[in-house]
Point group: C2
Chain length 244, copies 2
DNA sequence: TGATTTATTGTCAATCTGACGATAAATACC
DNA sequence: GGTATTTATCGTCAGATTGACAATAAATCA
């Protein structure tokens, strides 16, 4: 990074949040309906401008709070990627730093008539179906989905979609929803419980549901991801392990 | 992303490039010596301001070209992460979008006396040893190294450090340098050549080196990463595979 | 009281992995 | 030239992992 040449170009910077959750065994994304131009009336990712003196993670959680009413980050928030600044906003060059939130299903603010209404939408409806998104948000959602899929492969972040305590079946439903596949319950159980440093039996059980009660697990403390930071691989062996 | 409120804050945006290569079996990073304040005389990552009308990837490759003299991107360039804008530049809030370049060893411009001199430095000297970096570049380098390490685990990007054609031993040297470990040559050979869709035998052999000549391989066309885009996992099986 | 549903434990063959022996094919040394 | 050395490559074998699927456990449902 060299000196200020004459005067460097200045850009408005926004954060956008791709909030994903699993509802009714289907992956959902949180979208708001835009009330003003450009793209008025269209669906968009929640987000907004970074304020001066503010950090990216701060801005992302602030915008999430403003547009959904949550009082604190309800899951795992990490940076996804940055887009722009060229040619993604009709008003001019705007850089956006997209973030990814993996969270249990949480209620969104039922805002008044003049606020931007946030709501959950099935991801497939947006990516395959006819739902249009503002700006380049469709591409961002696509990248977010890719990231989420691969995160499940080699990190314990699947648990971020569950609450504090969860059953193996609930965890499996997350994998099935994100990957869009079915998994063998018996093999999944073996792998999930057999992976060292992943799950911890709470000793408690579910009750009241149909079928045999299930044991409740929680994420091992050390496996819990640090907010905003990349999470260490836990589930998968590398290409090859060191000999020493 | 809502409307322009009153007037959104504007930020200078820079790109920084963490260029990694393997020289003499050791992972090296490209650094420049700063000629002006702040941090004059200190080592820093190559980078600079994003110009108006420019995209991030464009800016990154332009800055790399300006500071090293390469005429085109000499390896795999992808976005790493964004940092700031708060509290990382004494002159004020500056957002930087860090990029990661994985490339074969390439010569850097021997600039005149008034240009910023770029040179390769062993990564361990920076992270463990006494070398200080300007701004938050030490943290960025640390993140880049983490990313590079994990990329090798589940993507074919190790080959990005090699030239067009390479031997299995050269590829293994990459893994050993990035991971800082030793790998069993026989098992590595088996895994590398046995992974479908990874390597392709060119039919040609090395000659002149000590020992038995080695077969030359190249990356399978379909496995070649798209510049700037995340690369599909190739080497490792996922946590669990779809049943259907 | 079954019938049904869901959870959990096993079993077994195929594959993969890690440790390491043996052989192949070049250069290096004398 | 002949042998030592170096590096590449192929094989072997036991243990771990995976995928397919049987069997059992423990609840609700009808």
């Amino acid at each position: 990074m060299p000196e200020l040449p004459t005067a460097p170009a200045l850009f408005p910077v926004t954060v956008d949040v791709v909030a994903l959750t699993v509802r009714n065994d289907v992956l959902n994304v949180l979208l708001i309906t835009r009330l003003i131009d450009p793209f008025r009336g269209m669906l968009a990712l929640p987000g907004g401008f970074v304020l001066s003196g503010e950090d990216l993670a701060t801005a992302a959680s602030r915008e999430l709070a403003e547009e959904t009413g949550v009082d604190r980050v309800p899951g795992h928030l990490e940076q996804l990627a940055s887009y722009g600044p060229k040619g993604r906003d009709p008003r001019g060059d705007v850089l956006t730093v997209a973030h990814l939130l993996l969270a249990p299903d949480f209620p969104v603010l039922s805002a008044g008539s003049d606020a931007e209404q946030a709501a959950w939408y099935p991801v497939t409806q947006v990516l395959d179906g006819g739902l249009q998104l503002a700006f380049d948000h469709r591409r961002i959602l696509g990248d977010a989905l890719e990231r989420a899929k691969s995160k499940l492969e080699y990190s314990p972040l699947g648990a971020a979609f569950c609450g504090e305590e969860f059953t193996i079946a609930q965890l499996r439903a997350v994998y099935e929803a994100v990957w869009g596949t079915r998994l063998d319950p018996r093999n999944f159980h073996r792998k999930a419980t057999g992976t060292p440093g992943f799950l911890e039996d709470t000793g408690r059980m579910t009750a009241g549901d149909a079928g045999r009660p299930a044991a409740l697990f929680r994420l091992v403390e050390a496996a819990r991801p640090v907010a905003g930071q990349p999470s260490r691989a836990v589930l998968n062996p590398p290409l090859m392990r060191p000999r020493d």
